[in-house]
C-alpha cells in the first residue's frame, strides 16, 4: 500500500473513463492526457486501462509500504525516490518504505504515476476515475491509503524506456476538425479561427479550458445538444472554451470546433499563459 503524506495541487485517480453512461448525464472523465497515461501503463506491462494517479503542476509526497515498480510519465517533473533523482518514462524499482516526491515540472502540466498491477480501487459505473458526486472522493486526500493490485509475474522489460517527443508538450499547433456550428460563423470569423493565437487563461481544469483570443467573436446559443471532450464552444458574450474530459454531456453553446484526441492530450499539458493556434485537418 501507499500512504499519501501530502496531496499536491490536484491529484486524482484516473483510468480510461466512464463509457456507456453519457446518456444518463454522467461525464466521461478519464486520463486528461491519454497518451502519457497509457505509456506509463505500457512500460509496466499493465493493461492500458489500469488506474493511474494524475498529478497537476505540483505532485504529492507518497510513502510506499510495499515493494513495487513504478513509471512516471507526462510533464517534466524531477521526481526523487528517497532523495535520489529518478528517471521519467522508464520503470523504477521501489523498495519498501520509500518516499517519492515530484518537484515542479520543467515542461508540461500533468504527470502520471503508474504502479505495477495498478491501483486497487472500487469501480463506480465501470471506472475508477474520480468525479465529484459519482465517486466518494473527488481528489486525493491527505492521509489516504492507496492499495496496489498484486501484479503477479511482472512483464516488465528490464530497461524498457522510450523517448517521448517534446512536441507533445511544446507544440503550438493543435489539430482540429470543424464543429457542428462551424458553418454558422461568418466567413471572416471562420478565417480568424485559423489565423489567430489563443492563450490558456487561469480558468482551466478537468472540465474545460477557457481561452483568451487575440480577436473577438461570438455566437448565438443553440438548442441544447451533445458535447464531448475536445468540443470548442463559443458563447454569446464571446467566451471561447475547450471542453475537457470531465465535460458535461450536453450543452447550449455553439460548437464551432472539435479537437482530435491527440490535440486534447496536448492541450491537457498546457497551462495558464501558454499560447497556440488551431490547424484545420
Amino acid at each position: 500500500m501507499i500512504e499519501v503524506l501530502s496531496t499536491g495541487l490536484y491529484t486524482t485517480v484516473q483510468d480510461m473513463g466512464r463509457y456507456g453512461y453519457r446518456k444518463y448525464g454522467v461525464p466521461l472523465s478519464g486520463f486528461m492526457d491519454g497518451y502519457s497515461a497509457k505509456l506509463a501503463n505500457q512500460l509496466l506491462g499493465n493493461p492500458k486501462d489500469c488506474a493511474v494517479l494524475e498529478i497537476t503542476l505540483t505532485g504529492p509526497v507518497l510513502i510506499f509500504r510495499e515493494e513495487t515498480q513504478i513509471v512516471i510519465t507526462g510533464a517534466g517533473f524531477t521526481p526523487t525516490l528517497n532523495n535520489q533523482e529518478i528517471f521519467l518514462n522508464m520503470p523504477v524499482e521501489v523498495p519498501m518504505d520509500s518516499k517519492l516526491s515530484f518537484g515542479l515540472p520543467a515542461y508540461g502540466f500533468r504527470g502520471y504515476l503508474a504502479v505495477a498491477g495498478g491501483f486497487k480501487l472500487e469501480k463506480v459505473l465501470g471506472s475508477c476515475s474520480f468525479y465529484k458526486g459519482i465517486t466518494k472522493v473527488s481528489h486525493l486526500q491527505k492521509g489516504a491509503v492507496l492499495e496496489i493490485n498484486a501484479s503477479g509475474k511482472s512483464n516488465i522489460k528490464a530497461n524498457a524506456s522510450v523517448r517521448v517527443k517534446k512536441d507533445h508538450f511544446t507544440a503550438e499547433i493543435l489539430e482540429v476538425l470543424k464543429g457542428p456550428e462551424f458553418e454558422k460563423l461568418s466567413k471572416a470569423n471562420r478565417h480568424k479561427l485559423k489565423d489567430f493565437i489563443f492563450t490558456v487563461t487561469s480558468q482551466n481544469n478537468r472540465m474545460a479550458y477557457l481561452l483568451e483570443a487575440s480577436t473577438k467573436m461570438s455566437a448565438k446559443e443553440i438548442i441544447t445538444a451533445p458535447v464531448q471532450p475536445g468540443t470548442v464552444q463559443i458563447t454569446p458574450s464571446g467566451k471561447i472554451m475547450v471542453l475537457m474530459r470531465d465535460a458535461q454531456t450536453t450543452g447550449g453553446y455553439a460548437r464551432i470546433l472539435q479537437l482530435t484526441e491527440k490535440s486534447i492530450n496536448r492541450l491537457a499539458q498546457k497551462k495558464t499563459g501558454d499560447r497556440f493556434r488551431f490547424h484545420f485537418l
Partner: protein, 243 residues
Amino acid sequence: MKSIPKIEKFGENAFLLRWKGAIDPSLNDEIVRVDSMLYTLFSEIIVETVPSFLEIAVYVKPNLDIGTLIKQIDSAFLAEVDTVPMQEKFVYDIPVCYDKDFGLDLAEMAKVSGLSVKKWIQLHTEPLYRVYFIGFLPGFPYLGGLPEALWFPRKKEPRHLIEKGSVGIGGPQTGIYTMDSPGGWNILGRTPFYFFDVNEPKPTLLQAGDYVRFVSITKTQFKKISIQIKEGNYILKKEVCHD
C-alpha cells in the same frame, strides 16, 4: 419516419444525427426510437449514444472509417426505423415541497410575475412534463411543457450551491437538480426523492420519453417521505403512459 436526419461527422470517433425543426414531443418519440434502433443494428461498433432535443450523438469505437459508416447508417435506418416498437413509457408523480425553506426564490418570482405563490404552485403542478433527455448533470431531466406564464429568466449571478432535489426554472424550462451543483435557475421547491443512483445498472430513474407530474406536499410530508426513502419504504407513484 417523419423526417430524415442529416448525418454529420462529430470529431474523430463520433457522428451526429441532426433533425430540422423545433422542440417537439413527436420528434422526441422518433429520436427515442432511432436511438434504440441504432443499438440494435450497430451494436458491434457503437460505444454509446446521447440523444438530445434535435440530435443524437453516436460515439463509436476508435479507428473506424466514419465516412463509410455514415453511408451505411443512412440507408439502414431509412429502411428499418418504422418497424421499431416504442419502448414502454411511464408517468411519474414527483412529490415537491414548495415551502419557502425549499422554494428559495418562489416569493420573488411571484412578486415579479404578479401571480400569487398559490397560483405558481397550481400552474406548476398542472402539466405532464415530458422528459426529452438526460444531460447537464448525472440524471438531470430536460423537461418540456412548462406553461408560458411561468417562464422566468435565469439569475444574473448563479448560486454556488443548489441542493440536490431542488426544482427550478430557467427560461422556458423546468427541471430537478439531481445532484448538489452550482446553478443559475430560480428555485421554487424541493423533492425528497432522488433520481440518480450509481448502484443501479441504469443509474437514472427517468428515461427519455417518460413524463413527470409534480405533486405539492407539505413540509411534514417532505420529512415523512425522506424517512421512508432512507428506510427503502417509499414507492414513487408511476403509471404506464399511453400517449
